[in-house]
Structure formats: structure tokens, C-alpha cells
Subunit: 343 residues, 2 copies
């Protein structure tokens, strides 16, 4: 099956190559009559552009890279994929996902980028860059937007969640329900990175302080990295054990992500701790699972966040300037059945 080229269409339509190019790309300064003729020929021959050739000639690749630090089938990452696809695909862009799980991989990615020319833009997801990495980004000629990153440094644009306010809401709910002793349970992240973990734990401590909890009544459980455990179940047991060992034992906890909070509740039950009678639990994300078990959680919408980020790269790739380069979204606390008053 020999490739049908622009030239074939030109021959068929009886015009020059450049006219075909112009006609098919919808440029002006083309007689509508010839355009119709060309389109007919193209349709008949089933012509479609070689993106490679177009890219090579024009310098635009019409491709965008999405960089993740976790698996593509996680709730957050797959939502980002979908959101980005929704806005980029109609604009004619292909999206190309990649993942990195170590700083080494991240650095290779970042180092290759500036000289690479294989994509027109990048969305970087849930990755916190260090100073050197941010600096590397600044040298790029293609736009890079950060999504769910800690800082906006180095990014041409970004979309972040306001974790502080969310945490105020969450801790505020526990306080309002009468809880005096509270704790934060960090999620053992996969890979080398610390994600936003440190962020949420820090936000929790700040919120607690702001709301008047004293040091003795606030605990923080840091479980390290997932790789430190033989299995996710082990991490879960560790979390439950450490929680119950706390003295005084907290009656209200925030768990960094829903995906860890839901099985933790089951694990707690196994230890004889009822939720919410003995302990109130608040998660973060509002995934399907959280909704299914009616867990109180902090809702965020990564599809929407990603659409916004994609609109930003798109504008930047088109050479436009953004009126608001850096957006901060407000997550929303959804009280459900895993939080209750002190009995």
C-alpha cells in the first residue's frame, strides 16, 4: 500500500503541491473553486497528511507530552489524561503520556527536552521540581505548565489546588464535631518522589495550629515510601498499628488520599475501632471509591484541572499570553458518613 502524498493529490487536481497544502489547511488566498477541486481529489485518494513531514517542515509537532510520576491508571493521572485529551484533541494535538519514577529519569527527561523538538509543549503532573530542575525549565522555548505541583517556579503556567484552605475545612469539621485529639496519616507514595505529601501533612499541621490545637493533641504519622513495605497491606497494618499506639489516641484523623483511607478504615475495623463511632476519618480526592463507601473527603476535580492546564498550554503554544498564568483552585469538603461527633 503505497503512501498517498500531497503530490498525488496535486497531480489528481491538476494544481501544484503548495496549492494543495494551502487548500487543505484552510489557508486563505486560495480560490474556493480550486479548494473544492483539491478537497475532492484528496477525499477520493483518501489522502491524509504525514504529521512527520509537516512537523519537519513547519517546526510544529502538534504533539504534547504529559509527564506523570505515577502509573497512568491511577485516579488522578487518568483523569488528567482525559481532561487534556478533551481540549487538545479537537485542537489537532496528539497527547503523549510518559512517566518517571526517579529523579534520574526526571532529569533525563528535562535535559532532553530543550533540544528535543519532538513536542510543542509539556504538562508536568504532580511533580515537585527542585531548584536546578526549575532552572532547567526556564531555558525551554516550548511552554511547560505545572499541574498539581508544589511551586510554580520554572513553569510558564500552572494549576494548583489550595490545600491550605481545604485542610482548614477538614480540621475545622473535626473540631466542630468535638474532636480534641487529631492526627494526620501520610500516604506512602510509590517511587522516589514525595509528591504533594509533604504539602498536605504540612498544611494539616498549620491548620491545626491555626485552629488552636496544641502540640500535644496533634500527631502526624509518616509511613515513608511504599517501596519500604513488602506489600500495600503491610503499609496499611503499619498505619493502623501506629495510629492505635498513639497516646492519647486521636479520635479524628485526616488521611492523605482516599485510596489509602478506605482500606485503612477496614483495617481499623479489624482492630476493633469503629468508624465514625470511635474514630472519625476524612480523606482527600473524592474518588469513586470514597463515594461508594460514603466517606467524608475533600473533593477535587482533576479532569477539570487538566482541562484548564491544557487550555493554558494550548494558548501558549499558539503564542498567546495568558491573563492568569497561575490558577489556584479551591477544593471542597464533602461531609459524609465517616465523620461524626464524639460519643
Amino acid at each position: 500500500m503505497p503512501r498517498v502524498t500531497l503530490h498525488d493529490v496535486a497531480l489528481e487536481a491538476g494544481v501544484s503541491d503548495s496549492t494543495v497544502s494551502r487548500a487543505l489547511r484552510g489557508l486563505d488566498k486560495v480560490d474556493e473553486g480550486t479548494r473544492a477541486k483539491v478537497k475532492d481529489a484528496a477525499r477520493e485518494l483518501r489522502f491524509s497528511f504525514s504529521r512527520n513531514a509537516s512537523s519537519l517542515a513547519s517546526g510544529k509537532t502538534m504533539r504534547l507530552a504529559l509527564l506523570f510520576s505515577d502509573a497512568l491508571n491511577t485516579w488522578f493521572d487518568s483523569s488528567v489524561l482525559q481532561g487534556a485529551y478533551e481540549v487538545l484533541s479537537p485542537a489537532g494535538y496528539d497527547i503523549i503520556p510518559s512517566t518517571v519514577s526517579t529523579d534520574f529519569e526526571l532529569n533525563s527527561f528535562l535535559n532532553r527536552l530543550p533540544y528535543d523538538g519532538n513536542v510543542d509543549g509539556v504538562i508536568v503532573c504532580s511533580i515537585n521540581l527542585d531548584t536546578a530542575q526549575s532552572k532547567a525549565l526556564k531555558k525551554l522555548t516550548i511552554p511547560v505548565v505545572g499541574l498539581d505541583s508544589r511551586t510554580i517556579d520554572g513553569f510558564d503556567a500552572s494549576v494548583l489546588m489550595d490545600d491550605d484552605t481545604a485542610m482548614d475545612d477538614a480540621v475545622g469539621l473535626l473540631q466542630g464535631l468535638g474532636h480534641q485529639r487529631i492526627a494526620f496519616v501520610g500516604w506512602p507514595a510509590p517511587g522516589d518522589f514525595r509528591f504533594s505529601s509533604q504539602l498536605r501533612a504540612g498544611a494539616f499541621m498549620k491548620a491545626a495550629k491555626r485552629l488552636g490545637f496544641d502540640d500535644g493533641s496533634v500527631a502526624r504519622i509518616d509511613l515513608g515510601k511504599m517501596n519500604d513495605y513488602r506489600s500495600p497491606d503491610d503499609a496499611l497494618s503499619a498505619a493502623a498499628a501506629r495510629l492505635l499506639a498513639l497516646d492519647p489516641r486521636p479520635t479524628g484523623i485526616c488521611v492523605e488520599v482516599d485510596g489509602f483511607a478506605v482500606p485503612l478504615i477496614a483495617e481499623l475495623k479489624r482492630f476493633g475501632v469503629r468508624v465514625p463511632e470511635d474514630m472519625s476519618v476524612i480523606g482527600f480526592d473524592d474518588t469513586d471509591v470514597a463515594a461508594a463507601v460514603e466517606m467524608t473527603t475533600v473533593h477535587q476535580n482533576p479532569v477539570e484541572m487538566s482541562r484548564l492546564a491544557a487550555r493554558k498550554v494550548l494558548a501558549l503554544m499558539r503564542g498567546q499570553t495568558l491573563d492568569e498564568a497561575h490558577s489556584v483552585l479551591r477544593p471542597m469538603l464533602i461531609p459524609r458518613k465517616t465523620t461524626g461527633p464524639i460519643l
Copy 2:
């Protein structure tokens, strides 16, 4: 930031362009001394290949298209993305997801493909092709593998689940628990397509017959398409209402997908039907949500299926032949807490 080209490296290393190309691609017939020299120059200049130029010259794009009929952030599709990424990325391939939701879109995709030359292969996911479409595929010069499709017609290779056996297991469990009246609840699929719905409904009816249920004791609820409803909640209410209207009312049901089964259970509870006391429910997929609510379901592993499919395209793209082009995987019934004996 001017692009660093192969030529720049050649200049730096004091050799010809072609030598750089050969050296960097690891081809033989290159003196190891010069190769080292070239590599040094490349590293120093931070050179990386332009995929576009390589593709144009070589005819290989090193890109693979993934075609879905549903959103990228669904459980199944995102798992496929991840599985494919795991095997194709190390092999140097980029993966490019696209979605189609109408037959028209599907046809445009298929028609463009053969003359397109923008990808080296395609994985088609959960899409049932009609005869004309299968025929169109056969003309392609790039390999196309089907994943979770109804038939293997037109595909160079495929990975399917054995829905029949799974259904035998599911219906068998209900029967074993003493249920005399059973029903299948179809999931109102989004978009134009019917996915594997018809397949599972059909498999259910067959399994029931095989196990000795007579026509009067088996019901099948077809809810049409999601687009027919104002909201997913409406579809849910419709399902529950139709179920309860059944006379005699079934005591055991199979629901096409977990994602519909879980909220349906909640809806049933609202109607005063307890699960499993009044009605046993079996789902399909074994998603996180199913596990979280301890629902009996039929487990399948789309990440693993996708890895297998990806290995197949990869081999085909490399011109190898497959010893087993078409694989059928066996799903597994996981009994949990939504099924119980007749009380």
C-alpha cells in the same frame, strides 16, 4: 535555543553525518573509537534525535495508536493505557491515545489509517467492528490488534476474555445458593456503541439455559444507552424500578459492570431491598470500588491483557510472527458479600 542536529554532532566529532547516525543508533560497522568520540560529542551538545526526521527518512514512526470507545479515565481504558505503556515505552515507542464515540468517528479513523503513516501499529479497545470495518482493517499494512472486542475478524492479533465461562461461574453461584429466579441487568453504555454489552447479556442467557433455568425464571433488563437518560442517576432509578416490577421478582442478579452494580445496590436499598438478604448481586470487572464495598464480582485484569496485546503488536511491528495470535483469557469469579443463600 537553536536545535542541535546530527550535523552539529558530526562537526564536533569531526566525522560525517552518516557516521554519527550509525554510531548513535548502535549499528555495527562502526569503529568503537569513533563511536566513543561521537557519543562524547553528542552528550556534550545534548543532542537528541528528531523523531520526525527519523520517521520521515526511515518510514518507521515509533508510535502506536490506542483507540478507545470510552473516556480515558475509565477503569478499563486507563488500565489498558498503563499496560501498553509498560511494554511499549521501554521498546522506544510512544503511545498515542484517541477515542471515538460514534460509528462515523470510528470510520474516519479506520479510513484514514491505511494511508496515514503516522503510527506503526494500532490497538483497538472494546470496539466491535462490523463486517465492512473488519474488511477495511485487512487492507492495512500496519498491524492492528483487538483488545476486548467481540470478534477477532480483521485483527492481526487479539486478546479477549472468555465471557461465557465467567458467566457460567456467576450463574452457577446463584444457582448453588438456591436462587430460582435470576436476571441480568445491562449497563447503558455511553456513545453509539454497544461494547460488549450484547455479549454479556447473551452469555448470561446462554449460561442460564445451560444450567437448566427455564424461560419464565430468567429476565433480562436492557436499559438502552446512557444518552437516553438525563443523568446516570435516572438510569439507575430506571434499573431499580424495572427490576422490582419484575413478576416474579428475581432474587439473584448479574449486573454488566461493577460501576453500575455498586450504585444500583445503593438504589435498591433505598427501595427497601437489602443485599444480599433480599437479593444477591454479582458484578463484572472487580474494580477498586467493587473491592471496597466487598461486592461479589468477576475479576479481570485489563493491565495484564493490555501488556499481552502490546507484546503482540510489538512483535508484529518488528516483523515477527506470533505463535498464538489470538488469546482468550479466563476471568475469575470472586465471591464476596453481596451474594448469599435464599433466606
